[in-house]
């Protein structure tokens, strides 16, 4: 089974180390970054599902970083974990970063584990929804193309007793349609 990738961003290495310990028994591949820009680089190169970020970091704050993640990698689920909780940072993290969870340090191991696992589930559900939506869109497009080439082909006709009426199509005509179908539709 492919492991779920989590990214932890904090400028203090010991915080990253203790967070990693929280998730030792969880089936995650954990990446870490000491700052926002390093975090973005990791996101570019790894299939990260959940990002956990500190707020107070040099250069770019956590809430600004999470806002960047939301714009550039909107599918990644965002969690803020801060030792220095200001209402302004929380507001920015929600309104710009659309965070999924917000925690203060010191954290509760169980709560954090539960939140990350819920975040991974959310990512997986949304990914599956995106995949299904793609299929539905493609099928709708194929139907449209098919209808354009063979008008009436996608409509089902029924008689007054609601029985399905099958059009009279010769074997040859059917073979021709199928050959064209194989060539042009996916």
């Amino acid at each position: 089974m492919a492991q779920d990738t989590i990214l932890i961003v904090d400028d203090e290495p010991y915080v990253i180390a203790s967070l990693k310990r929280v998730f030792t028994d969880e089936p995650y591949e954990i990446c870490s970054a000491a700052g926002a820009l390093e975090g973005i680089e990791i996101l570019k190169n790894n299939p990260v599902k959940v990002v956990l970020s500190d707020e107070k970091m040099p250069d770019i704050t956590g809430s600004e970083f999470l806002a960047m993640v939301r714009e550039q990698f909107p599918d990644v689920i965002r969690i803020m974990l801060t030792g220095n909780a200001s209402i302004d940072a929380a507001m920015k993290a929600i309104n710009k970063g659309e965070i999924y969870r917000f925690f203060t340090k010191p954290w509760d191991d169980r709560e954090l584990k539960f939140a990350v696992s819920a975040a991974v589930d959310k990512y997986n559900i949304e990914e599956e929804n995106r995949r299904l939506l793609e299929i539905v869109k493609r099928q709708a497009l194929n139907m449209k193309l098919l209808e354009r080439q063979f008008p009436g082909i996608t409509k089902l006709e029924r008689d007054e007793k609601d029985r399905i009426l099958l059009p009279d199509v010769s074997e040859q005509e059917m073979t021709r349609i199928m050959a064209k179908f194989d060539k042009e539709f996916i």
């Binding site: 909780a85 200001s86 209402i87 929380a90 929600i94 999924y100 917000f102 925690f103 203060t104």
Partner: protein, 128 residues
């Protein structure tokens, strides 16, 4: 053009009336409630697309109310608007209420208008 139902929950009627003015030109039907329990009653009779709630209300707080909305009516997009911003309330509103936006009073009208428009876009994406 489709109309949307917005529910505003605040124990101060003057706050609700000034919020309503922000949305005068928007295609919304606005419902109002003065408490969490009245707010929940509204959900029983109308499909609510977006709810905007105050935090500090007698009996049930806004963040608790939004957590209930999330449990019972998860499709409704939730916004917290509070004059009394504590980090605990914000945390509860995010973690339990999974709010979409968070604002403090006094608010910026343009920001609120934009937030509700964005909330409707989110509602439509989610129900796809």
């Amino acid at each position: 053009m489709e109309r949307y139902n917005i529910l505003m929950v605040d124990d101060e009627p003057n706050v609700i009336s000034s919020l309503k003015r922000i949305f005068m030109d928007e295609p919304y039907d606005i419902y109002e409630a003065n408490s969490a329990s009245e707010g929940l009653e509204m959900f029983k009779n109308h499909p609510i697309h977006v709810v905007i709630s105050d935090e500090r209300m007698p009996e049930v707080s806004g963040s608790e109310f939004l957590a209930m909305v999330r449990d019972k009516y998860p499709r409704t997009i939730r916004i917290l608007l509070t004059g009394y911003a504590s980090i605990e309330a914000a945390m509860k509103a995010i973690n339990k209420g999974e709010i979409f936006r968070f604002f403090t009073k006094p608010w910026d009208e343009t920001e609120i208008r934009e937030a509700v428009r964005a909330a409707i876009v989110r509602y439509n994406i989610d129900s796809n």
